[in-house]
């Protein structure tokens, strides 16, 4: 603390030593943030754990009672829960892998030197910054069987005779919401990887060129290894975020038809909003939290050697 001690501080009188007073003053700066996060994150999470131990259906208040791990047992026996886990897996793997590949291509394109690059970059970021509900509703309209342009375009190029109900066909609904999610998420990878590309000094490429490396060789042996840290950070962040992201499904299909697009996070919402089963919703969110923390711990372990996470 000595290093922090203020020269202008008057010498302290009373019981509390100068060092302690200084420490307390320092903690005071953190107090508002601590109160905020305590009240809106920490306490609610503890409350979720507490709620998950109770039978708590809002429409049947007389049945409110402590049931221990009852909700958790119910979850293990709930086939829908397992279906949502499987759906979450498909949702995350398909969305993130395709976002990554297309985002990477986008970054390579935007890394080229051409007039109007900044403007072009801004345009391509738009899908990512607009509200999720806007994305969902816009695409609902695009997918609309009779008045939507997607069916119309497919019909005009001769690929389609009968209109397709993209979001209400159980076989197509998941692919359709994933497609929308890909559209929304590409810019995230584009800007992350673009930032990584621009951090690579031109000299590195020049040296490789002098050594006779072709453009593909330079990509595999120079660009890719140098981008490794940012790729890991971006992908891990995206996986966690996609796993938890319920807005799009909530807006577009609400998990339907027949749970075809129900992922675990949207199922949590359904339990709370439609079934009014807060005990079960809390149980599902505790499980989401455990999955997420496990993944985050794993991610931090992996990135530790790659990039310093703090300081």
């Amino acid at each position: 603390m000595t290093r922090e001690a203020s020269v202008a501080m008057p010498s302290p009188r009373g019981f509390i030593s100068r060092g302690t007073r200084q420490t307390l003053a320092n903690y005071a700066y953190l107090l508002p943030a601590a109160v905020c996060l305590g009240g809106t994150v920490l306490f609610p999470i503890l409350k979720s754990i507490h709620m998950s131990l109770y039978q708590n259906v809002l429409s049947r208040p007389q049945e409110y009672r402590f049931i221990g791990l009852g909700n958790y047992l119910r979850m293990i026996q709930d086939p829908t829960f397992w279906l949502t886990l499987k759906n979450s897996f498909i949702w995350v793997v398909c969305s993130v892998s395709i976002q990554f590949v297309l985002g990477f291509l986008g970054a390579l394109l935007l890394n080229g030197k051409f007039k109007g690059r900044a403007f072009c970059r801004t345009l391509n970021l738009l899908p990512w910054i607009i509200p999720g509900v806007v994305v969902g509703l816009m695409w609902e309209y695009l997918y609309q069987p009779n008045y939507g342009p997607i069916n119309d375009i497919l019909r005009q190029v001769g690929l389609l005779r009968v209109p397709i109900a993209w979001l209400s066909d159980p076989n197509l609904a998941m692919a359709s919401v994933i497609f929308t999610n890909i559209w929304r998420g590409i810019p995230f990878f584009t800007i992350m990887i673009l930032a990584g590309l621009q951090a690579i000094p031109d000299k590195v490429y020049e040296a490789a060129t002098v050594d006779g490396a072709s453009v593909t060789q330079r990509f595999w042996h120079v660009t890719l290894p140098l981008l490794r840290p940012i790729i890991i950070v971006a992908t891990a962040t995206r996986i966690i975020w996609t796993f938890n992201y319920a807005d799009l499904i909530f807006v577009m299909t609400n998990g339907g038809p027949a749970n075809a697009t129900q992922i675990t996070s949207s199922y949590t919402l359904l339990s709370a909003y439609t079934d009014l089963d807060f005990g079960y919703a809390a149980t599902l969110s505790v499980v989401l939290l455990i999955i997420m923390l496990t993944f985050t711990a794993f991610y931090l372990k992996v990135t530790k050697g790659v990039e310093s996470v703090s300081e």
């Binding site: 394109l109 738009l126 342009p149 962040t237 923390l293």
Partner: protein, 286 residues
């Protein structure tokens, strides 16, 4: 060296036609849905439901905007004002809270400081879904359902961790000597923070402020869950409410989509450069 020459040829192709075609396809794909929504928002009711569908409005009209803005069932003027208020208050409060915390974390040594930084990083990834049920019962118990406070406080759960994380980085890049000399000249530490550090970190603070604004503006789940009356809905919640009506009015809905999009799109263009810096340093929801 033949490899080198073929590389050159490949490069010229990559730099020319391939680059331009790729950019064109990518940009059309990114913008297509917006263009469709914009076109639909200018169509008359008859044209919206006509077959074959049209891509450019035959008789462009602002009728949908006027109707959405003044509608009694889904008053977008009110939603807009609500979004503006909630996002602005969240932004200002977040900045005050995070500047103080970010400064402390950048300058003071604390027991468990690294753990605290990890907590901030992990909290950024907490999904709203996780907090819905407990926050609902919490706001209900406090009598805050259907108030702006419930939305603003809930928004802190995602704005504060990210902005603190960003600001720690900005403050660390400012030399300690600057405020130390101010303190020797008789300024208190808090005074030095306000007069020396905040102005120097202004670009970073502005960027994080816009981030807080934009992410609050986009927030959906808290806004739908913690409000029940039409007058309290934000744009996101209002749009969802409108889409849930018996008959979806695609024209008005598209107008609503444009109304919700334009402000964030404009703000984001200012924020871009700074946000990318922050993104690559940490992680965020978005």
């Amino acid at each position: 060296m033949s490899n080198h020459r073929s590389g050159d040829f490949f490069e010229r192709i990559l730099g020319g036609p391939v680059l331009w075609t790729g950019l064109a396809i990518m940009t059309i794909f990114a913008l297509g849905p917006f263009l469709w929504a914009f076109s639909a928002s200018l169509k008359t009711r008859a044209e919206l439901y006509a077959t074959p569908i049209t891509y450019i409005p035959a008789l462009p009209t602002f009728q949908n905007y006027v109707e959405a803005w003044t509608s009694r069932l889904t008053p977008f003027s009110r939603f807009f004002a609500n979004s503006l208020w909630v996002s602005s208050v969240t932004m200002v409060a977040t900045i005050v809270i995070s500047t103080s915390a970010g400064y402390a974390l950048a300058r003071f040594r604390f027991v468990g400081k690294n753990t605290l930084m990890l907590v901030f990083l992990a909290t950024q990834m907490f999904p709203a879904v996780l907090l819905i049920a407990p926050l609902l019962s919490q706001w209900y118990a406090l009598g805050l359902i259907d108030t702006y406070q419930a939305l603003i406080y809930s928004n802190f759960s995602f704005t504060v961790p990210f902005t603190v994380w960003m600001l720690v980085g900005y403050f660390e890049s400012i030399p300690r000597a600057l405020e130390e000399s101010a303190m020797i000249d008789g300024s208190s530490r808090f005074g030095a923070l306000l007069r020396i550090i905040v102005p120097l970190a202004a670009p970073g603070i502005a960027a994080t402020a816009i981030f807080a604004f934009v992410s609050s503006w986009s927030e959906l789940l808290f806004a739908t869950t913690f409000t029940s009356s039409t007058e309290m809905r934000t744009l996101s919640a209002g749009l969802l409410y409108m889409a849930g009506q018996y008959e979806v009015q695609w024209g008005q809905l598209s107008a609503g989509v444009m109304i919700s999009t334009v402000p964030v799109a404009i703000l984001f263009t200012f924020l871009q450069k700074h946000l990318i810096k922050g993104l690559t340093a940490g992680a965020m929801k978005g």
